[in-house]
Assembly symmetry: C2
């Protein structure tokens, strides 16, 4: 009898069921956007019959200083605005629409990245390096969001941890890369904007990287977690979280290492620890690696914010020369600095390079095109990781 | 000398640094939205000086069938459109703006939920039940996205697993709730739209739920993972993924149980297994629990899609009467059915209830207000979980 019930209800219910799910608040007809063609041109479409002016703004377009590029879209009779790009080189791109001056995400594309408080649609053009940023059919590592106790900060804090394919069952111990975000970022930055999970999976699958744990902590000491993921609830994230560059993070970084080294199967020695970060995270990596001068064999500064410290009182920023000298004396295997030639921090990084040269402190300085952008940080991560733990 | 560099770079760099981060593609001035007042009225704002007509559409507004409610916003001289609600009862709400007919997310609010291909802004009004859906300062469980091998489907598949606070260090074994999503959903549905992580943390912290593992698998057998998280890359998700209700999932569900029971410290017996799901996941729970008739002591059907099967050939849907009878004979502790009185599946659920009554099969049938909506599924989860493993 149940079978009869199960089988005889008319398909009207199924249609209604389908209708429901298409009808999230205010949802309408969707047009295909973005459509990535085989020749790597890309067509964008937006159904907005009432709009007077629609632009497409994409991060592949030449920007005017900090003002992103944009291109006017054409309105078709159907009320759909359309634009097809030139051939785009392989990359992970971001874009939005500007509709009568209003910044609007693409309703045809549910994939977004959040950078501080701003959401940008993303898509990937296949090839090199785009294929490194996508999920391929390779063995996958595990991504965990969990909470650790930070006695130094007096709170439980959230951290994202990548463990490599096979970690759970291998019984082996692994090296650890501590991977730090920039100002305005959090423990979600590297796994989302940075595609760190896909990069690690793909580099390991390609035999280019040693299987390792990647710990992605939150570098804002007044936050327990990323916006919306912690006890502060939902609020509009701001760029510069207070106290993130006043020495507190560096001083309490031991809490993070202790957590990782007591809760994961790791090789807990200098030869198996790396630390790297972008922008503010590069600043943190610079100072953490010299403040704990016999702790890391691998240091990566990606567009590092070598900047004035807000708080000169912190003991972290005392004796910089002598602690750097001690770090050099203790030895390390790689001190890697990457910076874009148009990055506003380029000169600062150049000065730091000269400083290291004058000290005779070994390092690798890699220049790239472009500025202070995630495109570069993904490339730096991809260049840095294969050099670790070899 | 480094210290001099670190200390003497002018703060111009810092300002530039700040300017950069505010300037993600096309970002502009942001106004506070939504602003939740102490009296639980909520003000929404959108800066759109060029717009002719702006509506706010929120899921607290009376809908006309499947058409969501909306209210016109007022334009201020500043070009900011504004609307303040009446007092809203505690809840997690969703909303969007309609700007000259275009569905637009709130640029002031980076918090969204994805339902199939549709992104909706969310906010929480404090109280009961809203406080259950937010991250509170309580011990937190761990949320893991990992991949398991499904020999039955011939692929590696992604799963979201919640382990309760203390799992990693307790050495204890735990019961498991398998929590299934609806059509159009995936392994991200319960952790995001369903707030399952926050509900579990808060119920456990309040002493209302037994610490348990919650396994949230992907119920679409042709997918290895949620859209954008699997090897299909980025594409526009559709409502009804093929083959999700043809018996394949039920038949291969053993792969999921086997993975959980061999990779987590679980009490692997019937007394410590529960299965529940919403809509299509309720359909799956109904059939899985009778197809494996001596496996689950706790069954939860939330607005279950008791619907015609596409594929009558599957052995899963044979002998329904006899397998249900066997399930009853084998015994279980809770067969919980929840459905909203205005749900389009209400009558189907009522018929099923009558069917169980006619068989003398014990169950609990709980009616709620409202229809086929996440608000109800969060409430059902909150009602169901405290009854488990007691």
């Amino acid at each position: 009898m149940l079978k009869r019930i199960v089988m005889t209800i008319t398909s009207a219910a199924m249609l209604q069921y389908a209708a429901h799910a298409q009808q999230a608040i205010g949802g309408g007809t969707q047009v295909a956007s973005p459509e990535i063609h085989d020749d790597h041109t890309v067509t964008f479409r937006l159904e907005a019959p009432e709009a007077r002016e629609v632009y497409l703004s994409g991060d592949w377009m030449p920007a005017d200083g900090w003002t992103p590029g944009k291109v006017a879209m054409e309105k078709e009779e159907s009320g759909i605005w359309i634009h097809t790009t030139e051939v785009l080189p392989s990359e992970l791109y971001g874009y939005v629409f500007l509709v009568d001056g209003l910044r609007v995400n693409d309703p045809g594309n549910p994939f977004l990245s959040r950078d501080i408080a701003t959401l940008t649609n993303i898509f990937i053009v296949a090839g090199d390096p785009g294929d490194l940023y996508r999920v391929n059919d390779v063995p996958h590592g595990t991504v965990t969001r969990r909470w650790y106790d930070s006695p130094g900060l007096g709170m439980d804090r959230r951290i994202t941890v990548y463990t490599p394919p096979g970690y759970e069952c291998s019984g082996e111990s692994y090296p650890v890369l501590y991977l730090l975000h920039g100002a305005g970022g959090d423990e979600e930055a590297w796994p989302t904007l940075g595609r760190a999970v896909q990069i690690m999976d793909n580099l390991i699958a390609g035999g280019k990287a040693t299987p390792m744990i990647v710990a992605m902590p939150n570098g804002n000491v007044i936050q327990d977690a990323a916006p919306g993921e912690g006890s502060d609830g939902y609020y509009t994230p701001r760029f510069m979280v207070p106290k993130t560059m006043d020495g507190t993070y560096e001083e309490t970084f031991e809490d993070i290492m202790k957590f990782v080294e007591t809760h994961y199967r790791v090789k807990a020695d200098k030869a198996h620890r790396a630390i790297a970060g972008l922008s503010m995270g590069g600043f943190h990596s610079l100072h953490i690696s010299r403040y704990y001068p016999d702790t890391f064999d691998y240091i990566g500064l990606f567009s590092a914010a070598i900047l004035p410290n807000q708080n000169t009182e912190s003991k972290v920023y005392q004796d910089i020369d002598s602690t750097l000298a001690r770090q050099m004396e203790n030895g390390y295997k790689l001190y890697w600095i990457g910076c874009g030639k148009t990055d506003f921090l380029y000169n600062n990084n150049l000065q730091y390079k000269e400083k290291l040269e004058s000290m005779g402190m070994p390092h690798l300085f890699v220049e790239s095109d472009g500025g202070h952008i995630w495109k570069n940080w993904r490339i730096y991560l991809t260049a840095f990781v294969p050099q670790l733990f070899k």
